[in-house]
Amino acid sequence: MKFTDYIQKIDRRYIFIVLAIAVIVPLLFPLGLPTFTTPPVRNLYKHIDEAAGEDDKAVFMDFAQSPSTLPELYPMDLAVLRHCFLRDIKVFTISYYPQGAAIMQMALSEVKEAFPDVRPDYDYCNFGYRSWALRVPITLGIGDNIAEAVETNSAGRRLENLPIMGKIKNYDNIQVCIEISGASPGYLYINYARARYGVDVAIGVTAVSAADNYPYLQTGQLIGLLGGLKGAAEYEELVETFAVNGIPYSEKKAQNLSWRQQQFELSEVPYKFKRARIGMDAQAVAHVLIILFIIIGNVGYFIEKRQEKKKFIK
């Protein structure tokens, strides 16, 4: 059998094995590839960071997630929460999905392990699960009064009695609404919260949805976007560089890769806070492999086509 015939008819299971090896090896032995940051991620980081230490500002996080989106979205959850806890930024969390509520609780617990001083209802407030049918009334109601729209936290305590609500009333006190979503990201907040109240909106999405949402960045309806594992890795990197070291955000420093690489040692970072960056090592190797497969497949195709043309001429 000719080489061209062989590569056109190769059993796809061999490709799966090669791909699995290409992913497993960098996970076991990380390559430490540099993480370049992009403007949509830097903008979001900068915007959140501006609320550091402010009593009357909070970040509003919506967890529209299910277990099938965990590999891409969960590192984002951890990175954003870690940023907020490190920089003393108040956080509200909510989910309109039963499974999203469980993921939200898991993310809060996992990040909080590293921050024993961070207290629920003082530094963050988990609104818990709310019915999908209530998402529009709640989103609009927050524009008037969060405590009236949401009423209670996940433990059933009334919001107006919680210390975190002292100087926070409505969207005027929300620094940004972030929807980390595997479904229709950001539309709820773009359509209602931004259109009616002018609140800043950002999204974290699976890579599949990322390209569809760039038009909203262009128009300014989104101030930031975390796209897939890459977006999560970028945000992890910014948190590691600035927030962990207590350095205020600087655009110039954020773009300076060599300066950023001097700020921390990746091997010393807890695995849960570098999951996306390690994953991106594997992603990079797998992408190179896929590009090679595409090139080999196309070379085989064109050689075969040329041979058929020659036969036809003869």
């Binding site: 992913v23 497993i24 019915s131 359509n191 209602y192 309806q221 695995y271």
Partner: protein, 199 residues
């Protein structure tokens, strides 16, 4: 102990799913059906205790807010979908739901159409805006079928195809990244949580 059992169970189900890459088999079928059943099984009681009890049962039966009987009865209308004779009653909650959808139309038009159009109408002061302008106009004209795509017009509309191809390429590239991320996520779980090979 429970955590260990959970990790082993998750590892078994992950490997069962991966076994489909070799060929269809009973382990894959079992894991697939279990996933669907567990998702539904998890959602139904969760919704019952977090929606029905606090928003319907408690206010109506404990706080005696009888005004809630009206939405309660409208909601019950959905159940008549299962009756051949009374299925028409289910149209009322559907109509009510559509009315709520209608509430979002003006805001959707503003956010999804008007703001997007406004960006199109900005002065062409930089290369991005010029590219957006050319891309949008050429694609719109490509889908205008009342004029034959010939001559200069045809060449201009073919630019629209290039823009679309680049858009599809970007989407496909991101899709590849998404699928690989799922594989990476599962392998990270197997290698770290299950096998403990990654610290």
């Amino acid at each position: 102990m429970m955590e260990t059992i959970g990790i082993w169970l998750a590892a078994f189900l992950t490997l069962s799913m991966f076994s489909f890459l070799y060929k269809d088999n009973p382990f894959y079928k079992f894991a697939e059906h279990l996933f669907i059943g567990a998702s539904l099984g998890y959602g139904i009681p969760y919704t019952f205790f977090n929606v029905f009890i606090p928003y319907a049962y408690n206010p109506l039966f404990l706080k005696h807010e009888y005004i809630l009987i009206i939405p309660f009865l409208i909601g019950i209308g959905y159940w008549f979908r299962f009756s051949n004779n009374l299925s028409w009653l289910s149209r009322y909650p559907i109509a009510f739901g559509l009315g709520i959808v209608g509430m979002g139309v003006p805001m959707s038009i503003h956010a999804q159409i008007l703001v997007q159009m406004r960006t199109m109408m900005l002065p062409l002061t930089n290369i991005n805006l010029i590219l957006i302008f050319i891309g949008t106009v050429s694609i719109l004209l490509y889908f205008f079928f009342s004029k034959a795509h010939k001559g200069v017009y045809g060449k201009f509309t073919s630019i629209g195809i290039w823009f679309m191809m680049i858009g599809f390429g970007a989407s496909f590239g991101y899709t590849v990244m998404a699928r690989l991320s799922l594989l990476i996520g599962r392998l990270q779980f197997l290698l770290s949580d299950w096998l403990g090979l990654i610290n």
